[in-house]
């Protein structure tokens, strides 16, 4: 039984530790972007399960001071070093992992940022390639939902909604 389980789990899983997630905040005063190229993600092609781990200190900002503020004052990276997503592709039976192509998917699950866990869903695509899958999605996120408060003095510089873009190129394992 054990052997069968192991061989099953070895099938149809896709993994990366170099996925990229960026966020973008736009206001008339200032545009802020940050990119993280060290995102860990694993997709189970059989069950449609998805786990994503984001190390907060790995977000690179153009302004180093901003990066320090992000980690120290906003997401409190020492206290909450990671953001995670743990969920499922709800329509995963429509994805044919054996034939190349781009499949629209809907992902639902629990996202934890700054120690706050919320039920979320987002639309995206899953591209089946030669040696893996590329998951792409774009959604907006309100920092206040995750108890990340933005002081009034910088309210004009930081958008209410962050645009999150993810591209996770996972290799078959």
């Amino acid at each position: 039984m054990m052997i069968i389980t192991l061989s099953l789990s070895g099938q149809g899983k896709f993994l990366t530790n170099e996925g990229s997630i960026s966020f973008y905040s736009h206001t008339p005063i200032e545009d802020i972007t940050a990119l993280n190229n060290e995102v860990g993600a694993v997709i189970d092609g059989e069950k449609g399960e998805v786990v994503i781990i984001v190390q907060m200190t790995r977000f690179q900002f153009e302004k180093k001071l901003m990066q320090e503020h992000f980690n120290e004052n906003y997401v409190e990276s020492e206290k909450f070093p990671r953001a995670t997503f743990n969920g499922k592709i709800t329509n995963h039976e429509t994805v044919d992992y054996s034939s190349k192509g781009i499949y629209p998917v809907l992902v639902e699950g629990e996202m934890t940022i700054h120690g706050v866990t919320r039920q979320v869903s987002a639309e995206g695509t899953l591209e089946v390639t030669e040696n893996g899958v590329v998951a792409r999605t774009e959604f907006t996120l309100n920092p206040e939902d995750y108890d990340i408060s933005i002081p009034r003095v910088v309210r004009g510089n930081i958008a209410e909604l962050m645009l999150i873009t993810a591209e996770l190129s996972c290799q078959s394992i």
């Binding site: 039984m1 389980t5 789990s9 899983k13 993994l15 530790n17 060290e38 860990g40 993600a41 694993v42 189970d44 069950k47 399960e49 786990v51 781990i53 190390q55 200190t57 790995r58 153009e62 302004k63 180093k64 001071l65 320090e68 503020h69 980690n71 120290e72 004052n73 409190e76 020492e78 206290k79 070093p81 743990n86 002081p151 003095v153 910088v154 510089n157």
Partner: protein, 285 residues
């Protein structure tokens, strides 16, 4: 059947464990041990990051005990302006001009070790600072054989700091000060001091800071002016690109030559100066 249910339930965890295994252990470098490049008067281990220019305006008023006529010191103003720049993340330089002895100063500070955890473990951050200070006052004795090098003094400081928790950081600063020319023959050209600085975070943007230097004054040498150990307490207030430091100190000077070598005020006598540092950071590249 039972086995397969158990397998289903554990799937999410298994997937996470699988990912965990694949993710390389990273090194997390400690950031913001102090909020500014100064604890209060003296240097902290922090440097300007590469490509950033820090315009600093430091200000000390007169002594609080000078009374109502002097508006408790506010009528007197001592200022130090400086431009400081990060050449690399580990190397910064700065130039400045201050009221105290009409000083023009320059310094460089570099990082030797950075506190980190994870793949690479390092318990402390270490930086080194070297500064030169040029006294700009007219010669008090023009008849004497005066040379330009007489105007110069140097300070070298090793800073060893640890951020113990998100809220508390502590720094030790062994310091060496050399003055090419001193007031009298009985004054020492060299002074050693041991500094200690601490930061206690009160809110995410405000911290309480304190800084003290113990100056080892040689007993066999008389100092022409009685100097005391400088103590400064105050708050860091951070607002986006600015850091405000509000300070109470017995030292009117804002650079190492004056802080260590010429703090003539005494806390218990009320020789306290109110002051502030404003740091405004610009991104140059």
């Amino acid at each position: 059947m039972f086995l397969s249910i158990a397998w289903m339930g554990a799937a999410g965890q298994d997937l996470e464990a699988l990912l965990e295994e694949q993710m390389e252990e990273t090194t997390e470098y400690t950031s913001a041990t102090f909020k500014a490049t100064r604890v209060m008067n003296g240097h902290s281990i922090e440097r300007m990051p590469e490509g950033q220019m820090d315009f600093r305006i430091s200000h000390r008023f007169g002594r609080v005990n000078s009374g109502a006529y002097e508006f408790f010191g506010i009528d007197q103003a001592n200022i130090h302006l400086s431009l400081e720049y990060g050449i690399r993340d580990w190397l910064m330089v700065g130039v400045g001009r201050g009221t105290f002895e009409k000083t023009v100063d320059g310094f460089m500070k570099f990082s030797l070790l950075r506190q980190s955890a994870g793949a690479r473990n390092m318990p402390v951050s270490v930086s080194f600072m070297s500064g030169a200070y040029v006294n700009g006052l007219r010669w008090n004795d023009p008849e004497r054989d005066n040379h330009f090098y007489h105007r110069i003094s140097y300070a070298h400081q090793l800073m060893v700091a640890r951020k113990f928790s998100q809220r508390f950081s502590f720094q030790l600063t062994p310091s060496y000060l050399h003055r090419n020319l001193v007031e009298t023959v009985s004054d020492p050209n060299d002074l050693f001091a041991l500094g200690a600085g601490a930061r206690m975070k009160l809110t995410s943007r405000i911290s309480f800071n304190a800084e003290y230097y113990y100056v080892f004054t040689p007993e066999d040498q008389l100092l022409s002016a009685e100097i005391f150990n400088p103590l400064a307490v105050g708050f860091d207030i951070e607002t986006g690109g600015h850091v405000f430091q509000i300070i109470l100190t017995n030292s009117v000077a804002m650079r190492e030559n004056g802080i260590i070598g010429f703090t003539t005020g005494r806390w218990i006598d009320g020789d306290i100066h109110m002051g502030f540092n404003i740091s405004r950071v610009f991104q140059l590249k």
